[in-house]
Amino acid sequence: MFEVLLQGLLLGGLYCLFAQGLSVMFGVMRLTNIAQGDFIVMAAFAAIALSATISANVAGSIGALAAVALTAALLLPLSFGLGYLLQRRVLNRTLGKDPLPSLVVTFGLSIVIQNALQELFSADPRSLPTDGLNTRSFELAGLNIGVLPLLIFVAALACTAALQQLFARSALGRSFRAVSDDRDIAQLMGLDANRVFALATGLAFVLIALAGLFQGMRTTVAPADGPMLLIFAFEAVIIGGMGSFWGTFVGAAVLGVTQQIGFTVDPGWGLWFGHLVFLAVLVVRPQGLFPKTRG
C-alpha cells in the first residue's frame, strides 16, 4: 500500500509541473490555455531535437545526461522568450471581459501545434535519451524508489515553493497580483499591464519547458499527446483550487495517488479513477480543496 502511495505521489510531481503553467496564466490573466498540453509536447520534441543536435555535434565526448543538461540550459530561456512574445503579439489581443476569444485562439494553437509536430516529426512516439536514468531506482525502507520520478517530484516541489515566494514576496509578484485584481487601476499606478502579462506567460512557458523535458525523459511522447496532458493539468488545478500554487501541488498529488490506486486494481482503471475523483471534487467542492480566497 505504501508503495502505491509513494508511486502515486511521485507521479503527482509530474502532473504538478503540467499544471503550474496553467495555474500561473489563469491566476494572472484569467486566461485558460487550451494548448497547455500541446506546448508541453512541443517542448518535449524541441528537447529531443536539441539533445540530438548537441550529441551529434559534440560527438560522444559528453554523455546523454550532459546533453540533457545543456538542452535544458538552452530550452528554458528560449521558452521564456517564446511565451513572452506569444502573449505580447497574440494573446494580449484576446484578453477582455469575454473569455471566449482566448479560448478560441489557444484551441486553434493546439490544432496547429499538433499538426505541425506531426509534419515535422511524424506520428511516431519518441523519447529523450537519458543513459538509463529513467529506469534507475534505489531501495529505501523496503520501498523501491525511481531516481527520475524522485527528481521530478523534487523539481515540482521546488517550483511550487519558488512560485509561491515569487508571488507573495517579490515586487514582480506584487505586480502580477495587482494586474490580476484590477488592470485599469494597476495601469493608473504606472504598470504596463501588457508587459506584466507577457512576463507571466514567459514564466508559465519556463514551467511548460521543464514539464516537457521531464515528460520526454520519463516516457515516450507523440504529437497527439497534448489533450491528455491538458486534462491531467486541468484536473490537478481543479482538485487543488484555482489560483493556489500549493493547492495545485496537492491536487496533482491526489490525482497521481488516485490513478496509481486505479492502476493497482486493474491496469485499465488508473486514468478512469483519476477522472472519478476529479468529478467527485467538482460535485462536492467545486471551488477545489484549497481555493485562493480573495477579499
Binding site: R174, R177, A178, D181, D182, Q187, M189, G190, D192
Partner: protein
C-alpha cells in the same frame, strides 16, 4: 496671473457611441483645492478619467503644465505628476495595506512622500500595514487609496467621491488631511456629491450637468440658489 497647472479646452469624451462630455473648459491653478459637483451621471467621474488616460480623449484637449497630455497612457500621465484616488477606492484586494501603498510608488517620482511620511499622516495604516486591504473599514480603505496616490508624489491629486459610503466623522478626518497637502503646493480636485461639504473645503467649484459645465465660481460667493439651478437644471 500664473499659468494653469491643468487646463482642458473643449474636452469631449465618449463611451462607444454615447457621448459623456460636451466641450468642457476647465482650469486648475497651482496649490488650489477645487471641487466638482453634480448629480449622478453628470460626467464628473468621466472627466477625471479623461484627465488620467482611462478614457480616450483628443491629445490637445488636456494640457498639464502647458504640455498636451490628452489620451496618453495612464502610466505616462502618473509619471508626469497626476494621480487619482478612484471612486469606490478600488484597492487591490489580494495585496496587503503596505503592498497597496508600494504600488503607488511605482511611478518613482522624486518627492517627500514615502511610507514613513504616510504613516505619519494616517497612523492607523502603520498599525494595519500587514492586513489584507479588504479587511479594513471603509474609512481606512479610503486612507489607503489616498496614500497610494500620494506615494507617486503627484503635483495634482484627483479624488473621486471621497465621502461615498463613509460615516460623517470619518469624512471629516479624511478631508482634514487635504489642507496639509495644498499647503505644500499640491493641487487637489475633489469630485463630491455633498454640495455643502464641497463648498466648505474648496476654493473654487465647478458644477457639471449632463456632460457640460453648468456653473463655475468662487466657493464662498456662490449662492444656494445658483448651485441648485446649476445642479438640477431647474
Amino acid at each position: 496671473m500664473s499659468q494653469p497647472l491643468v487646463e482642458t479646452t473643449g474636452l469631449t469624451a465618449h463611451y462607444g457611441d454615447a457621448q459623456a462630455l460636451y466641450g468642457i473648459d476647465f482650469r486648475l491653478m497651482p496649490g488650489e483645492l477645487l471641487a466638482i459637483i453634480g448629480a449622478n451621471g453628470a460626467g464628473k467621474s468621466t472627466f477625471l478619467k479623461s484627465l488620467t488616460g482611462l478614457v480616450p480623449v483628443q491629445r490637445e484637449a488636456v494640457r498639464f503644465q502647458g504640455q498636451a497630455i490628452g489620451g496618453l497612457p495612464p502610466g505616462e500621465i502618473v509619471r508626469r505628476g497626476l494621480a487619482m484616488v478612484p471612486e469606490g477606492r478600488r484597492l487591490f484586494p489580494s495585496l496587503s495595506v503596505e503592498e497597496n501603498l508600494l504600488m503607488g510608488g511605482l511611478a518613482q517620482r522624486p518627492g517627500p512622500w514615502n511610507l514613513k511620511r504616510l504613516y505619519g499622516l494616517f497612523p492607523i495604516l502603520e498599525e494595519k500595514r500587514r492586513h489584507p486591504s479588504g479587511a479594513l473599514s471603509g474609512g481606512q480603505q479610503q486612507m489607503v487609496a489616498i496614500g497610494r496616490a500620494l506615494m507617486s508624489n503627484p503635483k495634482v491629486l484627483l479624488c473621486d467621491e471621497l465621502s461615498l459610503g463613509l460615516a460623517p466623522i470619518v469624512i471629516r478626518e479624511i478631508y482634514a488631511a487635504l489642507p496639509t497637502l495644498t499647503a505644500e503646493g499640491m493641487s487637489i480636485v475633489v469630485v463630491e456629491q455633498d454640495v455643502s461639504l464641497a463648498q466648505a473645503v474648496s476654493q473654487r467649484v465647478y458644477c457639471f450637468q449632463e456632460g457640460r459645465v453648468s456653473l463655475e465660481g468662487d466657493s464662498r460667493q456662490l449662492s444656494r440658489e445658483q448651485i441648485s439651478q446649476a445642479y438640477f437644471g431647474i
